[in-house]
Amino acid sequence: MGDDPLADLAQLASDLGPVLRPRGDEEFLQAIVETARLVFDAAACSIALLDDFEEVLEFRVAAGTGAEATVGLKIPADRGIAGWAVVAGQPIAIDDVRQDPRFASDVAESTGYVPRSIMAMPLESERRTFGVIEVLDRRQSGGHGADDMELLGLFARQATLAVETSRIFSNLGQALFEAAALAAPGLDVRAALAKRAATAPKAQTELAELALLFHDLGRLGADERLVAVRIVDDFLTYARKHQR
């Protein structure tokens, strides 16, 4: 530990989030797709998660044929059978997907495997939609499509809980840091924020710098703060309007 306990605490809290995080994100999801693939005796099973803008689905884990090529693939969230399941919030099974000209066949072809059947179920909690789980060319169905969906629904529920829990832990570091900063008004918060901005991972640097700016703004007069709030508010309105 250094001379600045708050900065150390901030660093520790930030590091602890990912470390304490359950091994849900990748390993647990991988276990789910492997189990599902075995249960359905399917050619492949995969899970794709939405990005923060809810515009892109990225395949995070996969098992079976074409698994290596599938992981990391990104497709627009409004495309194909998986896209429909995500936007409609409804599971769907289609048994001759090549008949569907809008099926993302280029995606299937780039993985080296073009399926005949696909079953897709959204990963949804009561707070948000996380993505979709897909099963390609299942052989253990025996025509009981509804039972398959019920079963896939259970896998989807597990995956949803895993992703949700994992995200909560990932954000824990930041939450602890913010709480620590708020709870210690007597310490030199500015120094902690500056250090945080200098050492934060790239994605968090801007937010840490923004926090620093807010800290400095807090020391200005009421009028200056009011103008600053208006400028930020106007910028947000503008940015939202022109977002993508």
């Binding site: 409004d78 409804q90 099974a93 569907d100 398959d148």
Partner: protein, 268 residues
């Protein structure tokens, strides 16, 4: 002194209402001779491909898009549009297979950005209600609890306008909206293929069963595909309701549920 609303039941005010229900409700009474003509059905989905021969015709429609500047976060653009996925076309063809002369309106709410899709669904429902739709087919849902109140308000408004809201239930055993509400016709798939086979579940929230497993359904490009989902069961019920309304246009949602229950295969 009278409590509020009591005036509605004053002898001079209360209208005589023709209770369209006979003592024995049969399928013959319910829909024989009807084609669904004159009944407006909104397919709130991904659009409808009107050129698909199984669809027949589309009377009109609108596209709803998310718009943060709009009053309720979504904007409606009326006019013809394509089906972005194929699913709306499948629903339209199923409704016309059961009620061939029902007036279909495509309300496209799927295919735009995901963010704000609950408000887009809701605006699609509002458009349908404002344009006199008698049946709203919704083969879609959201589990997000933030939308609970908004969808409840709209389904109540639909009920008071005597519009029938038909919803596919989600497959996950958790509440999804708007299929969760008591006034809604909540539908899941049974294993039959006969479009007129209808089942009633006395243990709601899922109240009605219709075909939705391994069905040959219309899709994009004039093609058909074999598909499974509660989303294909809902339009069967919408079609039946349109057919019944074609013959008995004054039925209310609660009467319609009684009729469907009476003619169901497991109760008739």
């Amino acid at each position: 002194m009278k409590p509020a609303w009591a005036w509605q039941f004053d002898p001079g005010t209360l209208r005589h209402v023709e209770a369209a229900l006979p003592t024995a409700i049969t399928r013959e009474w319910a829909w024989e001779g009807s084609t669904g003509a004159g009944v407006k059905v909104a397919v709130i989905d991904s659009g409808i491909d009107a050129t698909n021969p199984a669809v027949g015709s589309v009377a009109g429609g609108a596209v709803v898009v998310a718009d943060p500047d709009a009053l309720r976060g979504a904007r409606v653009i009326e006019g013809p549009h394509e089906d972005l996925f194929g699913h709306g076309t499948a629903c339209a063809a199923i409704i016309h297979a059961v009620a061939p002369d029902a007036e279909l309106y495509s309300v496209r709410v799927l295919g735009e950005k995901l963010t704000g899709r609950g408000t887009v669904f809701a605006e699609g429902m509002r458009w349908a209600l404002a344009h006199g739709m008698q049946v709203l087919n919704m083969s879609l849902s959201t589990s997000r609890v933030d939308y609970y109140g908004m969808f409840h308000e709209i389904t109540d408004a639909a009920y008071f306008k005597q519009a029938m809201v038909v919803c596919a239930v989600n497959n996950v055993r958790a509440p999804s909206y708007p299929s969760q509400y008591a006034s809604v016709f909540s539908v899941a798939a049974h294993s039959g293929r006969d479009p007129f086979r209808l089942e009633y579940n006395p243990s709601p929230p899922v109240e009605f069963g219709a075909p939705g497993i391994d069905l040959e359904v219309a899709w994009l490009g004039g093609k058909t595909i074999r598909a499974t989902g509660n989303s294909f069961a809902a339009p069967h019920i919408s079609g039946l309701i349109a057919r019944i309304l074609g013959k008995h246009p004054t039925l209310t949602p609660f009467q319609m549920k009684t009729v469907l229950m009476a003619v169901a295969d497991n109760t008739a």
